[in-house]
């Protein structure tokens, strides 16, 4: 539901990330990492991204989204596993004393630029 705000942030960060010696280049792809626990709907984000990129250096670029699994560490038995269902107890020892290692990401990893000058 808040994908438009997210899309606008992505555009801002990506546009600011074009190195100064490559300012004539066009961004073709924005590589994004989204944790599976994030409250982001990928299709909705793509739609908003298309709207948010209009009249910006990112117009026509696309989002490449890598989904990051929810990984957890059990502080009691040191087990590490991927959480697939919404159950955050350790499958090995049933402890609830866990730490999430990944799954909350919402990060711009990189941008890919075209070489031709625009």
């Amino acid at each position: 539901m808040h994908e438009m705000g997210i899309a606008m942030q992505i555009v801002e960060i990506a546009a600011a990330s074009i190195p100064s010696d490559l300012t004539g280049s066009r961004i073709e792809i924005v590589n994004l990492k989204i944790g599976k626990l994030s409250a982001i709907v990928a299709d909705s984000l793509r739609f908003c991204f298309e709207v948010a990129t209009r009249d910006t250096p990112l117009e026509g670029s696309r989002l490449h989204i890598t989904e990051v699994p929810v990984r957890a560490h059990c502080n009691a038995c040191r087990n590490e596993w991927s959480i697939e269902a919404p159950d955050f107890t350790c499958p090995a020892c049933r402890s609830g004393d866990i730490r999430l290692l990944s799954g909350r990401e919402l990060d711009i990893e990189s941008i890919e630029l075209s070489e031709e000058e625009s």
Binding site: M1, H2, M4, G5, I6, Q9, I10, I13, A14, S17, I18, P19, L22, S25, E28, I29, N31, L32, I34, K36, L37, S38, A39, I40, V41, A42, D43, R62, H64, I65, T66, E67, V68, P69, A85, P86, D87, F88, T89, S95, G96, D97, I98, L100, L106, D107, I108, E109, S110, I111, E112, L113, S114, E115, E116
Partner: protein, 256 residues
């Protein structure tokens, strides 16, 4: 803001760590781009996170304990807050920031308590479905933090988006009412993971409902083992005391 060390290199590697459902991308055979990849590695919400950190610092300097109350629409959040305020004001100088997409109906109800209330209507900020840090910062212009011990933020009714945005609070609380279905915690796991306590509200209605309180509580604890769950009725006042004691003890801890 952030200064990045840019590293430009030819991108010939392909990520293979995909766990994609239908809506995420499958590994690419080739880059559609003609070759220059620039590392960015920045959090999309870094601007919000930085502002939240600055606000948190202000709260610490002014010794203000801040609660972020979240729930779906119609869970009884405002009524619960009305009742809670009345009882908390005996010990703390309270203030409230209340977020809605539009109308000031909630602020009007809460102002009866005598506590300063700031209404935020996010339609001025694009109709956002959550309160973000910059909105809280704006609301703080209306409050003198020197005269506040306990600030309660009533977030926008929504179990999805508010969980994603840090607003500089000390504790996050989710309110679920017994008219909403026992499976909400497992449908909205992020909200229940991010919160420090949950309230199961409207328990006065239980005699009229086929609601399995134990199942709802089990679902909350599956998503967030060990989280305190308070069963309350804002209408009758039943069960409010353990919840208020939880608030008081955390507030005292910060204010001492």
């Amino acid at each position: 803001m952030f200064q990045n060390g840019f590293k430009v290199f030819r991108a010939h590697h392909h990520k293979t760590d995909h766990h994609g459902g239908p809506s995420v991308d499958v590994p690419r055979k080739t880059h559609a781009g003609s070759g220059r990849e620039v590392k960015v590695v920045r959090r999309v919400l870094e601007a919000n996170d930085m502002m939240a950190a600055a606000i948190r610092k202000r709260f610490a300097e002014n010794r203000v304990f801040v609660l972020n109350l979240m729930s779906s629409p119609g869970s009884g959040k405002t009524t619960l807050l009305e009742k809670s305020l009345k009882l908390l004001m005996a010990e703390f100088r309270c203030a409230v920031i209340v977020g809605d997409i539009c109308t000031s109906a909630d602020a009007d109800r809460l102002a009866v308590s005598g506590a300063p209330v700031v209404q935020i209507n996010t339609d001025e900020f694009g109709g956002d479905c959550h309160l973000a840090a910059h909105v809280i910062e704006k609301a703080l212009e209306e409050l003198n933090l020197e005269n506040v011990d306990l600030l309660i933020v009533e977030n926008i009714g929504n179990l999805v988006c508010p969980a994603e945005f840090d607003i500089g609070e000390d504790r996050r609380v989710v309110i679920l009412s017994v008219t909403e279905g026992e499976d909400k915690p497992i449908k909205y796991p992020l909200m229940f993971r991010e919160c420090h306590a949950a309230l199961l509200n409207k328990i006065d209605l239980l005699p009229h409902l086929d609601y399995d309180v134990k199942l709802a509580e089990d679902n909350i604890l599956r998503v967030h083992p060990g989280m305190p769950v308070f069963k309350t009725s804002a209408r009758t006042g039943e069960g409010l005391e353990p919840w208020l004691e939880w608030v008081r003890s955390h507030a005292r801890e910060k204010l001492k």
